[in-house]
């Protein structure tokens, strides 16, 4: 092994010494012990690495990031963390069904949001809070639609009629399970915001969606989801289902 080869290997040697007993480094370390030039290079390289570790570990983290993560995940918590509870509730409901009839089962079948939908609400929240920015901004929705088309993002062939007259603010795309999802944000006449989320039907293969909008109240969010062709649309606003229904 020459010094060049030893340097190549020792570049992966961690400055904390965790690799001292790794046989892959043994020969290169031995070489460094024998050759003073290589030894000096190695000790300076380790010092450089240790300084880099210290500097990168001191990069400031946004003060509100922790709270944002916890609050954001809370939005989707009922979907996942309630799973064991839901399973038990279903089992109990089935038992109870023999006695109480179909009322409980009907309650269990209440529509809930899928993962991509809660993620979309999280993305919208981060846009509204200013924690993330639009990919494109325009007060003209048609310009945003063109931008999304140009970037191969899912887009409506035609916007829902009641959104056409609204002023748009911007659009953003994000990935969910390798499927691209588009969000277009609009300003409502009352000053609030309303958001159109668009994705391919393949992003939600387990969801049976029809042309008729399915309304779901999810915390502060009212959502309406429907399928048209091979696309799925979700309209969302912070407010009530009645408020949302006026845009359908």
């Amino acid at each position: 092994m020459d010094n060049q080869e030893a340097k190549f290997i020792l570049s992966a040697y961690r400055p904390g010494g965790q690799d001292a007993s790794d046989p892959r480094f043994a020969e290169a370390l031995e070489q460094a012990r024998r050759d003073p030039v290589l030894e000096r290079w190695f000790s300076e390289s380790i010092a450089f690495d240790a300084a880099m570790t210290e500097k990168l570990g001191a990069i400031a983290v946004p003060n509100d990031l922790r709270e944002s993560i916890l609050a954001g995940v809370k939005v989707s918590r009922p979907l996942r963390w309630m799973k064991p509870f839901v399973a038990r509730a279903i089992a109990a409901a089935l038992l109870f069904a023999a006695i109480a009839g179909s009322l409980i089962l009907r309650e269990m079948k209440k529509p809930r949001l899928a993962g991509w939908q809660t993620q979309a609400l999280g993305t919208i929240s981060s846009l509204v809070d200013g924690r993330s920015s639009f990919d494109a901004q325009s007060h003209s929705a048609s310009q945003l639609v063109n931008w999304l088309q140009t970037n191969q993002a899912p887009v409506a062939s035609r916007l829902p009629t009641n959104l056409e007259t609204l002023e748009s603010l911007g659009c953003k795309t994000f990935l969910w399970n390798q499927e691209l999802i588009s969000v277009i944000c609009f300003r409502r006449p009352d000053g609030g915001l309303i958001h159109l989320v668009i994705t391919k039907a393949s992003a939600a293969p387990d969801r049976v969606l029809k042309g008729e909008p399915q309304l779901v109240q999810h915390g502060e969010w009212a959502t309406a989801t429907w399928r048209k062709g091979d696309m799925i649309y979700m309209l969302a606003l912070e407010g009530s289902r009645d408020q949302l229904a006026t845009y359908l």
Binding site: N3, Q4, K7, F8, I9, S11, A12, R14, P15, G16, Q18, D19, D22, V37, R40, W41, E44, S45, F48, D49, A51, M52, T53, K55, L56, G57, A58, I59, A60, V61, P62, L65, R66, S68, I69, L70, G72, V73, S76, R77, L79, R80, W81, K83, G115, T118, Q119, G122, T123, S126, R131, S132, S133, N151, Q152, A153, T173, F174, L175, L180
Partner: protein
Amino acid sequence: MSEADFEQLVDRQYAPLFRFAVSLSKSEADAADLTQQTFFLWASKGDQLRDRSKAKSWLFTTLYREFLGKRRHEVRFPKVELEDVREEEMSILPNVNALDSETVLQALREVEEPFRAPLTLFYLEQFSYQEIADMLEVPIGTVMSRLSRGKTLLRQRLLTKEEALGNKVVSFPSERSGESHG
């Protein structure tokens, strides 16, 4: 996973994950987005991970995959040809201690992404070459190569920063002049 366990996981990993993300992304906002998205995915898929001791690796791997996924849709992202990067022996080393974290981060961000990801994992969390290979899904020889060449590129960027800031470049001790490095 209980809410308390999740909160503990966030407390332990959100800062290093953000630092990894910020070295990959173009902005702090994008990095925060990536970090948040990673925890969203953990909340929805993390229970599929049987070995909880691998949660940290899972988070870093997922963040990196999310970054790559987003990048595929950024048409302006410059293509990097690994073969074009020349490794040159450096006779001088930057004095990292004289630079602040922000400047060091800027220099790291200027290193092309294929080198930047393993470098950040190596420095930030002191992941082993084997762990980095698993996370980035490349052979260990490639990881070693990228670490070796990445460090050279990083030192070049740091020296440029140092010069721009007017810091004195620290050279090897004078008795070493004339010695070969290899």
